[in-house]
């Protein structure tokens, strides 16, 4: 039992190019921190937008949307910056390490972006479970206030900037931007239809810029080194470095900051030391549990947005889960689908009903009670969910299950033929299923 263990900094690292934690503002300033908050405070909006566009920065929250373009969309009126620190996509733990180790990079990013768009306040929506991290951010903001970056008008800036830490209360869907805004506005955290986009009507119905922690924390570094230098590290359509969360059956799990030109092999084998001795790689999840899996012969795929898309999957949140030969794919499908069932907000029908039926069918397959036709029914269910839900949570349930069926259909069929799991309780999930007792939320009996 010990706390988080941080990997040594990588050669190309930008965000985490040091050992340990840098929570003290004096240490951050000595390393050049807050220089951009000062020097860019009076820079015109158009110039910052152009700088971000030329840097090629794409959002690190999951969708990979070009950041400069998003900033340029911001509507007129009283504006807000909202930072997405909900980090709940299974396998993802990079924003947490970033906030613990370099909280001032995030606070500085907030100050810069607020001044650029003329927003008076930034709200960092952090998942409720990150209680320690919320306190670290609170302390960082307090230090920044003492030094005059927060709560005071920097020379040339349009006004004073406030930074607030807003704690969530446990709901994966609140990572989806419109659900996050519903939650921030004091409602149940349910998504809303777009348009209106947050850039027009977001927090308190005002124009809102909403970005992931890593995206915002990268902004000071881009401005410091210049967009040209930043964008030199690039594939065709993605630039810079990414924090990759590596977990599962791998010798050295952890967060590794890699250039987007790196391959999954560089991460899994190079940084992570591959699967444990004596095991073999079965497949890997490349971008959080909602991403379709990749196979061992796809280790040479680059981690960039467009290279993942070309391989039929998504770069997502940068969470790579390594799966070795011990895992039963039906049990994995059941575990993943049951997560999305539990997190479905219940607002739209295809997601609410689809995730439930997905779990019911997978339970039948897992316990050996399904007919062969019901495996085809699983695929039909995927068809009925993908692209048909109010927000992408339904897709997040269907896409991975479809990919498991595509690559491991024989394993599903074997459950039907042999009346149960051929691997049995030997699989890592075996001890939990089929009778995993749900205990969330605690409601009166």
């Amino acid at each position: 039992m010990q706390g988080p263990t941080y990997a040594a900094p990588r050669p190309d690292a930008i965000l985490l190019d040091f050992e340990g934690e840098r929570q003290d503002i004096a240490v951050y300033e000595t390393a050049g921190g807050y220089a951009m908050a000062r020097s860019q405070a009076g820079r015109p909006f158009e110039e910052i937008v152009q700088e971000l566009k030329d840097s090629g920065l794409r959002g690190r929250g999951g969708a990979g949307f070009p950041t400069g373009l998003k900033v340029s969309f911001i509507g007129k009126g009283s504006r807000y910056l909202v930072v997405n620190a909900d980090e709940s996509e299974p396998g993802t733990f990079k924003d947490r390490e970033l906030m613990l180790r370099n909280p001032h990079a995030l606070v500085e990013g907030c100050v810069i972006l607020c001044n650029a768009i003329g927003a008076g306040a930034a709200y960092i929506y952090i998942r409720g479970e990150y209680a320690t991290e919320a306190l670290v951010l609170d302390a960082a903001v307090a230090q920044a206030r003492q030094r005059g970056y927060v709560g005071a008008t920097l020379p040339g800036a349009p006004g004073a900037v406030e930074v607030y830490v807003h704690r969530g209360a446990g709901a994966y869907i609140c990572g989806e931007e419109t659900a996050l805004l519903s939650s921030l506005n004091g409602e149940r955290g349910q998504p809303t239809a777009k348009p209106p986009f947050p850039a027009v009507s977001g927090a308190w119905a005002s124009p809102t810029l909403l970005n992931n922690v890593e995206t915002v924390a990268t902004v000071p570094f881009i401005l410091a080194m210049g967009c040209k230098t930043y964008s030199e590290l690039r594939t065709e359509q993605t630039t810079g470095t990414r924090l990759m969360s590596l977990s599962g059956n791998v010798a050295r799990p952890g967060n590794y900051e890699l250039p987007v030109t790196a391959t999954f092999g560089d991460l899994i084998d190079g940084c992570g030391g591959g699967v444990p001795a004596g095991r073999s790689l079965k497949c890997f999840i490349p971008g959080g549990s909602s991403a379709p899996i990749l196979m061992p012969d796809q280790l040479d795929v680059q981690i960039a947005v467009e290279t993942c898309a070309a391989a039929g999957t998504m770069a997502g949140s940068g969470a790579v889960i390594v799966i070795d030969d011990r895992t039963c794919m039906v049990q994995l499908a059941l575990r993943v689908a049951d997560f999305y069932r539990h997190e479905s907000c219940g607002k739209c029908t295809p997601c609410r009903e689809g995730t439930r039926w997905m779990v019911e069918l997978l339970k039948k397959v897992e316990s050996g009670q399904a007919q062969r036709a019901e495996i085809d029914l699983l695929l039909e269910l995927c068809d009925r969910m993908e692209g048909k839900c109010l927000c992408p949570l339904g897709d997040a349930c269907a896409m991975p299950v479809r990919s498991y069926l595509q690559h491991f259909r024989a394993e599903f069929d074997a459950h039907v033929e042999q009346g149960g799991c051929p691997g049995g309780a030997a699989s890592p999930f075996g001890a939990l299923y089929p009778e995993l007792k749900r205990s969330l939320p605690l409601v009166p009996a």
Partner: protein
Amino acid sequence: MAIDTLYQEIQTEIAKYPDRRSAILAALRLAQTKYRWLSPEAFEEVARCIDLPVAQCQAVASFYDMYFLAPVGRHVVEVCTNVSCCLVGAPDVVAAFERELGCALGETSTDGAVTLRAVECLGGCGWAPVVSVDHRYLEHFQPGDAAQVVADLRAAPAEEH
């Protein structure tokens, strides 16, 4: 006196936002810290402090996983059972806690000391298995660690959670 403290804390939260509704998550969290769970009386008090209907407070609370709508033990142990943690032994951690506490997931030990639950990914997957005790994370958790944690919790007074 105690009621005034919660009222004041909630007013401090309300001041952070253009609309007091946005303080509802904080208000519920503060009430839960005070009362350990959100009883009907706690909801009444939150509604009064934040000046919103009780129904609105309950509707919001029931959406999220971290609010307790039923009484819980003096401490809460949450074991992550999502993919990455399961791949490196979370089911054995669950079994160890069930054995030490003499209760199943979703239940409270008979001495009222600990409520045990399974939770989804806690954001510590590379340092798995992950357990959260009264919202303090314990990473790299091994089944053999459960006995000591339970003994400590049985001896400790109630913690904020």
